[in-house]
């Protein structure tokens, strides 16, 4: 196996092509960087990842290069010696290499890199306004972090700083604080390499250069929000999040985006049960490094004032608020009676927004009433066609595809289908039962976009006499329901979504639902008459045991999710 020595520690790097940063990471040594990003081309221009490199010959002698090199751009191979600026802080557990005298004579190992990194930081701060107190990025800023860890404690720069004007017109969703920019060009490379739209460019030269757009061509593409995540400093700000929260008040939780079938892993940033921001959570199994703007800004429905926040029952043609305590026994009786009278005329609609666990428990309940009850897959919203990136100048997709926004705007069709197949052998689409003259229907919805749901409903659909509808927002289904139950959003519950490629990703609850909203899983527990604490993990294990396709969910699921074995 090829072995690389990082700060004296031998580490096997395998057969992959690694650079010094990645090799050092394998050895547990962190090398700071700004411009380098795994998904983008290497430009080696920020000069933060400077390291010292050399080669250890098979006979144990070491030859070192006299100057520092950028770690991001320097590949490692068998015998490569990497000395980082942190050399002095090494554990000391590994025997020191035989560094040559001409190398140690000039400076101790690691001193050159350490000094060069401090110099780079001093350079970056020369024209940086140091307006951290009013900067949104403060607290999660790489310039702050690295300056604190690797920089000098004081500035020797006494002259006036350059003060380029800010560019709030860069994009409708993104603003540029030009003076904070450190010219890592990650955002420029993103628009060239990932989206292919190339809106951003570097204008000007030297210390007067700026990120800018071509006049009349603002940064408007469906992945544009990622440049804010990519920006290591506070230069690119999301207008959606700007001045809303200080990041150190935010609680991060690992979520899964519910707005399309890609099922991107997201980081949900919340404070006091309010969702403030979504960011991409890197997951090579799901989407890679990025997320689309539909998902990124698609969380606002959770905080919407239009949501159903308590259950309601229709009396005299008007909805009246009810309490769960009153309503749950009534619901159970109505449903049981309806099934007893006409089991075949009862449809339980499970929407593709439900989690695997919720679908499993609802299916268990309804099939437990009578095996003749029909389980139906809720309307699947589809908008347009799959949208792939990068694109060429004319907007045509280019291979290889680096990101796909899927036309199917729901997170868990595959998961619900797996449950439905298990309980009744086949998936019944909503359109098949819509015209059947049903007597009763339980509609477990949870559609965040009412328009998408209504577009997915078959034309001329009429509600059955008894309709229990559970959803987030008022729509044609809830309008004709006898009982309306509030649904929870994906951020308000724990569960599992199975994406388009059968990747099952469990996720945690990020925020509490509104006080009178009872999560679907709790409701299913109540209907089934189960007692005890409602835990998605327990239900997940139960489902994994019962449904062979979901079996991998019974074991410990890695953070990136687990791929379900599907027979081709």
């Amino acid at each position: 196996m090829p072995t690389v020595y990082v700060n004296d520690r031998p580490v096997e790097v395998g057969t992959g092509k690694l650079n010094c940063i990645q090799a050092a990471e394998k050895a547990g040594v962190f090398v700071p960087s700004y411009c380098w990003h795994e998904a983008l081309t290497v430009v080696a221009s920020c000069r933060m990842c400077l390291v010292e490199v050399g080669e250890r010959k098979p006979d144990g002698t070491v030859v070192m290069q006299p100057k520092v090199v950028p770690g991001c751009q320097t590949p490692v191979r068998d015998g490569t010696v990497v000395v980082t600026g942190e050399y002095a802080k090494r554990s000391g557990a590994d025997a020191p290499l035989a560094y040559p005298a001409d190398y140690t004579k000039v400076a101790e190992p690691g001193d050159r890199a350490k000094r060069a990194q401090a110099d780079t930081l001093e350079g970056l701060l020369i024209n940086h306004p140091l307006d951290c107190p009013v900067c949104d990025k403060a607290g999660e800023c790489k310039l702050q972090d690295y300056s604190y860890k690797y920089g000098r404690s004081e500035s020797r720069m006494v002259d006036e700083k350059n003060q380029p004007p800010n560019k709030p017109g860069l994009s409708s969703k993104i603003t540029l604080f030009t003076d904070r920019c450190i010219m890592c060009t990650r955002c420029v490379r993103f628009t060239r390499e990932i989206t292919g739209t190339g809106e951003l460019a570097v204008m000007g030269r030297g210390h007067h250069e700026e990120i800018d757009t071509f006049p009349g061509r603002p940064l408007e593409n469906k992945l544009a929000g990622n440049v804010v995540d990519l920006c290591p400093v506070g230069a690119l700000g999301s207008k959606d999040f700007l001045y809303k929260q200080r990041v150190w008040y935010l609680k991060e939780s690992a979520g899964v985006c519910s707005r399309c079938a890609t099922g991107c892993s997201v980081q949900v940033d919340t404070n006091k049960d309010i969702v403030y921001r979504l960011r991409s959570r890197e997951n090579p199994e799901a989407q890679g490094h990025f997320i689309c703007d539909e998902g990124r800004y698609g969380y606002h429905f959770v905080n919407s004032g239009e949501r159903f926040v308590r259950p309601m029952a229709k009396a005299d043609g008007r909805f009246k608020p009810a309490t769960w305590g009153q309503l749950t026994p009534v619901l159970k009786k109505e449903v049981t009676d309806a099934v007893t009278v006409n089991a075949k005329g009862f449809a339980a609609v499970l929407s593709p927004f439900l989690t695997v666990e919720e679908a499993f428990l609802f299916a268990t309940f309804f099939k437990g009433l009578s095996k003749d009850v029909r389980l139906v897959l809720g309307p699947v919203p589809v908008v347009g066609a799959d949208d792939t990136y990068p694109k060429d100048v004319r907007g045509n997709p280019v291979e290889p595809v680096k990101f796909t926004i899927r036309a199917e705007k729901c997170p868990n069709r595959k998961g619900v289908e797996a449950v439905l197949r298990h309980f009744q052998g086949a998936v019944v689409p909503f359109a098949d039962v819509a015209g059947d003259g049903l007597a009763a229907m339980w509609f477990a919805g949870g559609y965040p976009d009412k328009d998408q749901l209504e577009a997915a409903l078959p034309g001329g659909w009429t509600a059955p006499p008894l309709l229990v509808a559970q959803d987030l927002f008022a729509n044609v289904v809830t309008a004709s329901a006898k009982y309306v139950l509030p649904a929870t959003a994906a951020f308000e519950k724990e569960g599992t979504f199975v994406n388009h490629a059968f990747l099952a990703q469990p996720f945690a609850r990020a925020v509490k639902p509104p006080v009178e909203v009872r999560p679907e899983l709790q409701l299913a527990f109540d209907l089934l008459g189960r007692r005890g604490l409602v835990q998605a993990a327990a239900v997940r294990a139960e489902a994994a045991k019962a449904v062979p396709l979901l079996a991998p969910l019974g074991l410990d699921v890695p953070g990136n999710g687990v791929r379900l074995a599907v027979k081709a």
């Binding site: 100057k67 090199v69 110099d119």
Partner: protein, 455 residues
């Protein structure tokens, strides 16, 4: 000293020197015809390699050796880029060749392309050189009309197209990979090396980048032979095994405070003193020289009065202008051999500020150390000349100048080395003057009332 009869500049000043007719009357293209018809490409390469010709663009890399770096038996295409983005301050030797004798250069291009089996040459001309572009345009059109470019040149199967490309108006476009990026239509941000252009160059194909004067030398080498070429200049230093010698004629340009600013052709190794005092007619207004820039701004400064170590009675003014000479007194190298003279009535603070202004303006802004370093040095020197210098400024200037560049490994290209070199040589050699300026708080008479920082 015997007078030297110019070769590269022999035709300058003749009527019709830029026309094909005039060039042919002087035996033009006979050399290329002989080479293409009688020689193998490898023979031309070998001759250039044996001649000891080193690149005239600044770094002095052996030209023939560079040609051999192109991959052998590459299916092609292989490109030749001619670097005519002559932007080093006070340098104008390429311009004279292009404007007055373009065919000498174009014959060199023919020879070089024949030697490296390239069918396409990109002539990257500095944007500001309108006259040179028009002269070359005419010359290239003449060659196409005469069948000396295009297919079946000299009735053989040798073919060549020359594309004239006007530059993007930036100093960095003269860096060879910056030039290639600019040629490709991108921002001239130098590329990371390796891979070198000889392996992956313009349009991802093997590419050779040569200077205009180098190619003019190629013409003369193939025409007059290696014995002639090696009879001029300075042989390798026997004490330095890595020295490849400085053979051949060189075009020196004189500028600044001299009586006769001009371009002269001399064998390599003329001393700075001879060049300025004899060929340049001495320093203007009867003054004395204080500092001299031996080869373009980025090479640093020579202190005319500083004694030369180990050589009695000689000063830094007596260094030979070959590829090694300026290095002996702490300069970066010969560079473009553009000699700029600063007289003793000029303040070094002003000179340095002017220098820093140039590099801060021309830094491409890709690498942090260069982008911020050049800007910072400009701001400090601007403050110095406004009489607001601080004692620690000089140390900061030297430190910043020392830490930016490819030599310490902190940048991609050599612009930062060139930006730092004049700063550190000026401060090390004229520290007393800078300290006095800081102490007095005297204000430069050229300093404008408004802060110039950042311009």
């Amino acid at each position: 000293m015997a007078t030297y009869e110019p070769v590269l500049l022999a035709r300058i000043g003749k009527p019709g020197s830029a026309s094909l007719e005039g060039y042919r009357a002087d035996g033009g293209y006979a050399t290329a015809e002989r080479a293409v018809k009688d020689l193998k490409p490898e023979q031309v390469t070998a001759q250039v390699k044996d001649s000891g010709l080193r690149g005239r663009g600044g770094a002095g890399f052996p030209t023939g050796l560079k040609w051999t770096f192109l991959p052998k038996d590459h299916p092609g295409p292989v490109y030749l880029c001619i670097n005519a983005d002559e932007s080093e301050p006070c340098t104008y030797n390429n311009r004279i060749l292009m404007e007055k004798d373009p065919h000498q250069v174009l014959e060199g291009i023919l020879l070089a392309c024949f030697a490296v089996k390239s069918k396409k040459a990109f002539f990257y001309i500095r944007y500001e050189y309108g006259d040179a572009y028009r002269a070359l345009r005419n010359a290239v059109d003449e060659l196409y009309a005469a069948g000396l470019l295009g297919k079946n040149i000299f009735g053989t199967d040798f073919e060549l197209d020359v594309v004239l490309h006007r530059g993007a108006g930036a100093y960095i476009c003269g860096e060879e990979t910056g030039l290639i990026e600019s040629l490709e239509g991108k921002r001239a941000w130098p590329r990371i090396k390796p891979p070198f252009p000889a392996v992956v160059g313009a349009f991802r194909k093997p590419t050779l980048v040569n200077n205009v004067e180098t190619l003019a030398c190629v013409t003369q080498i193939v025409k007059m032979g290696n014995d002639w070429f090696k009879s001029l200049g300075v042989p390798p230093d026997p004490k330095n095994p890595r020295d490849a010698g400085s053979y051949g004629p060189k075009l020196y340009t004189l500028a600044g405070h001299v009586n006769e600013p001009k371009c002269v052709e001399l064998p390599m190794g003329v001393t700075l003193r001879d060049l300025v005092e004899v060929h340049g007619g001495g320093v203007w207004k009867g003054r004395k020289a204080k500092a001299v820039n031996p080869g373009g701004l980025s090479m640093g400064y020579v202190d005319v009065l500083a004694p030369l170590k180990g050589e009695d009675g000689k000063t830094e003014y007596d260094i030979p202008l070959d590829f090694n000479g300026p290095g002996k007194v702490g300069c970066l190298g010969l560079g473009t051999a553009a000699v700029t003279v600063v007289d003793d009535a000029t303040s070094m603070v002003d000179v340095l500020h002017n220098t820093c202004q140039f590099f801060a303006h021309e830094s491409c802004g890709q690498c942090t150390p260069c982008r911020e370093g050049t800007g910072w040095m400009l701001k400090i020197t601007d403050r110095l000349r406004r009489g607001q210098g601080k004692r620690e400024d000089l140390d900061i200037l030297v430190e910043v100048a020392d830490r930016i560049g490819i030599m310490p490994g902190t940048t991609i290209c050599g612009l930062a080395d060139g930006a730092g070199w004049p700063v550190k040589t000026a401060i090390r050699k004229f520290r007393g003057e800078f300290e006095a300026a800081i102490r007095d708080g005297s204000r430069s008479r050229y300093a404008k009332s408004l802060a110039m920082a950042g311009h």
